[in-house]
Point group: C2
Chain length 735, copies 2
Amino acid sequence: MTRKVALMIMALMLPMLASAQKQFTLEDLNFGGTNYRNMIPQYRTIAWWGDTPVRLSADTVWTINPKTGAEKFLFTRAALPTDGNLSALSWAEFPYAGKPIVKLSDGDYLVLIDFKARKTLFKMKNDAAVSEWHPVSRNLAYIEGDNLWVARAEVNMAPPSSVTTPAQRQEFDDHMRVQRLTTDGSRDIVYGQAVHRNEFGIEGGLFWNPQGTRLAFYRMDQSMVADYPLVNVPELDDTTRVEATPAPEKYPMAGRTSHLVTVGVYDFATDRTMYLDAGDPTDRYFTNIAWSPDGNTIYMQELNRDQNDCRLVSYDAVTGKRLKELYRETHPKYVEPQHPIVFLPWDATKFLMYSERDGYNHLYLFDVQGNMLKQVTSGSWVVMDLLGFDAKAHTAIIASNEANPIGRNLYSVNIDTGKRTRVDEGGRGWHDGSLNPSGTMLVDVYQEPDVPRNIAFADTRTGKTTRYFTAPDPWQGYTVPTYECGTLTAADGTTPLYYRMVKPADFDPAKKYPTVVYVYGGPHAHNVDAGWHYRSRSWETYMAQRGYILFILDNRGSENRGRDFEQATFRQLGQVEMADQMQGVKYLQSLPYVDTTRLGVHGWSFGGFMTISLMTNYPDVFKVGVAGGPVIDWKWYEVMYGERYMDTPQTNPEGYELTSLIPKAKDLKGRLQIIIGLNDPTVVPQHAYSFLKACIAAGTQPDFYVYPGQGHNMRGHQSVHLHERITRYFDDYLK
Amino acid sequence: MTRKVALMIMALMLPMLASAQKQFTLEDLNFGGTNYRNMIPQYRTIAWWGDTPVRLSADTVWTINPKTGAEKFLFTRAALPTDGNLSALSWAEFPYAGKPIVKLSDGDYLVLIDFKARKTLFKMKNDAAVSEWHPVSRNLAYIEGDNLWVARAEVNMAPPSSVTTPAQRQEFDDHMRVQRLTTDGSRDIVYGQAVHRNEFGIEGGLFWNPQGTRLAFYRMDQSMVADYPLVNVPELDDTTRVEATPAPEKYPMAGRTSHLVTVGVYDFATDRTMYLDAGDPTDRYFTNIAWSPDGNTIYMQELNRDQNDCRLVSYDAVTGKRLKELYRETHPKYVEPQHPIVFLPWDATKFLMYSERDGYNHLYLFDVQGNMLKQVTSGSWVVMDLLGFDAKAHTAIIASNEANPIGRNLYSVNIDTGKRTRVDEGGRGWHDGSLNPSGTMLVDVYQEPDVPRNIAFADTRTGKTTRYFTAPDPWQGYTVPTYECGTLTAADGTTPLYYRMVKPADFDPAKKYPTVVYVYGGPHAHNVDAGWHYRSRSWETYMAQRGYILFILDNRGSENRGRDFEQATFRQLGQVEMADQMQGVKYLQSLPYVDTTRLGVHGWSFGGFMTISLMTNYPDVFKVGVAGGPVIDWKWYEVMYGERYMDTPQTNPEGYELTSLIPKAKDLKGRLQIIIGLNDPTVVPQHAYSFLKACIAAGTQPDFYVYPGQGHNMRGHQSVHLHERITRYFDDYLK
């Protein structure tokens, strides 16, 4: 073919190419990709200024009329006073209803600015990595050099008579303003941080009372906990370091010695710190700290190490004395407290508490004497969140999956009558919400299977909604696969399970497709819901574009389906989950267009454990697998999560043996790639290394890859590399 | 086809199958394989009892008549006295010529047994991992709890008058017998071990004088050396450990702070320890410790950190005083002392010293005043070993490659005349030898390209040899590839380089074969020699059986070819080596039967460095590579070896930059698998991790595997797994 002819053919083809749909790249689809931000549904950042919704951008704030959605300019960043490092307005908070005050940071300082007068009203140094500021007292608690410090917003102490000069007065004030509460903080003695490895809903370790005058805080002694020896490899552009260095991580493994947690309380009025008189902390979990509305009493859920006996206990915040056990819940498997109690804003003697005691997560009304007054919600569905209250209407605003097991809708619930009213827009899909302080108006941010993202305002009393924002389809112009959702019956023969299937855009039922099962399978998570594309992970779209079918099933053990659905896995993690996943495989095998000789499986973390479990328990079913950050044996996983589901290696040896993948190493037949972060502090590298050891001893040949410097998941652009890697593995061996 | 017909066909085929040649497995060919011992040429273990050769098996010892090869029964293990744990006779030593005394171990004890009288003559506890016993004095030096101890064979000290009872006398004797010489031994302060990371020919740290009355020893202070954070993953059958534990390794990296070495001397007569007055040890290497025949003087080679200035210095072993600098050698690149001086047995005022000063490794005669009396050997070949002397004949017995650059032959050299006479059998191949004490008889253990192993006795005066053992071909009955050897011209246009090519047994020049270059390329090693099959590694045979051609070339920088050949790589390791390897590739490209679109490369350690260098510098030439334990950047390699060839990152930044594979990560195109031992203390994992980091950042995709618990090389059966893994990679992507 001459060059001229070739050019002519190209010219003919060009218009066709131009009109063709665009193809996705991993830079488009992966969350670390360079074009990812353009490919996800657009958003609006909305905060509440009292009951007024405000839209935040980096440089401008607008008020929004929730009845019409109309925006009105409020102020710009450029107009605000600053010392030169004012944070973007996207981070703005409006802590005082009705007052034109915005809270921002300015370099190392926290500032309150009157945005109308354009004047800084308050300024306080706040450069610690961990800190909590209280808007009422304006006091700050923070951790510096492993110790707990407080900074007082106002100092009205009379100085001693020796203080006479202005310089002495300043020194006295500075001393009073900033005060160190502890001295023995270290890597072993940890103050003010989340304890119990963030299980039981624990997210932090500093707890202000509502007045901001008393501070409760966690103290954790982990000196007796074994270190896991992680290693830091210097960054390639680090000119100051040459050698790799140890990065030990305190990591209590199942059945091993765990840390000791106590709860301290500092009182600004008396300048005293004391500890709650909760008894010997050995093998106990202190969780879900809550304050009474008057700021004088502390409530805490106390769980035994076996996690089957939970008590709600109150303490005098002045003396630290134990006042009363208000409630006790036990279960032969486990009880898992995840939410602090919440007091009714219109009655300081009553509070709501979550419990799964009837088999589903519901709200119960208690009085402070510990009397259970009523079950507020009930039914074979779960309360997913308590967004707040409308005090005047005596309603709580909640999220639940009452309408659809894979959905999430927003309801107002009348505490007096129990009457529930759906208040979101459309009543379908997956709704996140943010409530205004008086509880009368919701921002309803939602997706539906064919709706990328809508934002509406919803009146919580009338249920009337106003559309504020409709995100355009970010995949307009691309060749998009099809996303389907359905149910199958679990291996118990009765329980419906939800699955998602993703098919290539040019799907032809007469062809046979290699098919990859993506799996997580563990507790506190789900993969299939009523969000956009049934919450398909974008890698599924990428794989479908390459000619694969993707199949994703939420097995028993996953969240939002009630206690027994979740607890079916107790003491034998992975077994019921596999049985259910194999129901999915049976379904796939019934489909003429699924090439059952080319089945793959991929998952991360618990899903990595599931991937290797499936590859080794069903070596003739799965040809190729990629397991990320996999648990290999639960004895190397941590105490809190691990023992909840598995008890200890001492008390459940048969369960640990049954679920361990070490003895399964010999059964590996297909191609399996294991991928970990070298610095994974969650599923430590010992899991993968031990499995490799077992495979080497057994003569089986998994593949392996490691991301140095990365933790349990790959961050940023490394995630693109990772997914290119995962994809290539299926292309190499499954396609 | 009916079952009956199928059976008939099988019946017809069976005799053919039975007569067909056998195929190799990795269990046959790999050194860790279950059948490997049957597949390597047989051996005989021979020791000297005075001038009488004795053959050792586990249970029996025979004397051998070296003139006829006839064996005569001497004694059995069963006949010897024992406390129950007598070692196999394969470990027997006969330290006293003419006396019927065998040295063995019996459990934790070293024993001397009169094998004629069947009586234990001497017994001494010897259970330390590091120890040195001296047959003349029968004293023992050993390391226990990081400190240096000595045990005296005989105690003749008069006890103090307070010692009166036999028990007190026993206690006194025990105290005198065993004595601790040091107290500050630790991981930081290391006594009696090899120092300078075993470079410069250093193999141990305890040096007896010829009388066994004085002990020189190394002391190394490495407290200032950075730790490399290796990690130990517990063995899977270890029931006592759960968590992985840190296993820090003192590892001085190029250009970084190194350890301090001093040399102590303990004198049994005076019970005193003192240190040689060698001056500040900072950035100096103290190597090749030797004693004068009278045991009163110590000789040491002292090298500067730059390794280009080496001095032979003598010390008074009584006072520690520096006596004299006897010799100094400098070179613009480097000087590398690797052998202690050796005194002439017939003249205690003269010694032989190795030097590469004329460009090749030769022997020089010096007197103790430091006068160089003569160059004993010379020529464009190298002395490879000095086996000993025939004192009466004034000859030294040496090994050299004078006859063949890739061979090794044994010669007697008359020290007075310089006359050399070859004394081995056949004069071809690769000869290892062991000389009797009087130097008149050699055991000549040798291979030739088509001789698996022969053992002969050689009279060092007449050169007359007697064949004692002829190993049968262990591969009889197998389909064996062909092994060829030839030379090419190096990239300098003049230097001949030796290569080996291995071709499938059914090689057909009309076909095109995938071809794998196996490479090492670093100093102090070679791959091609005149041993059996030209020293082909057995994996090459395995690969040839699978249809690959294998090609192995010893580039400039490798051993036995003289100083300039070796030093061509100075300050830019890998560059000249690659240029030479590409000469090999050019040759392969000229061969019609080599499929140049399917070229692979594999190497370990320096060969791993070469593999990745070749893959990234010639990304269009090599399609597939497997790099084991690779150096990635010489700045992470250790001081002693690294700075010899590369100087420091501070003094040779351009060399480090040129040779670093970090900037090459972006150029990776083909499939590259990197394999390391997780516990590699030689090329630490930081190399591979850093390369992965660079690849991840650059968006290239190497593969990776790690052997947990393994060091720089895989031991035992894990090596079978490794080679199955390496083979599979080429099968997957090159075949």
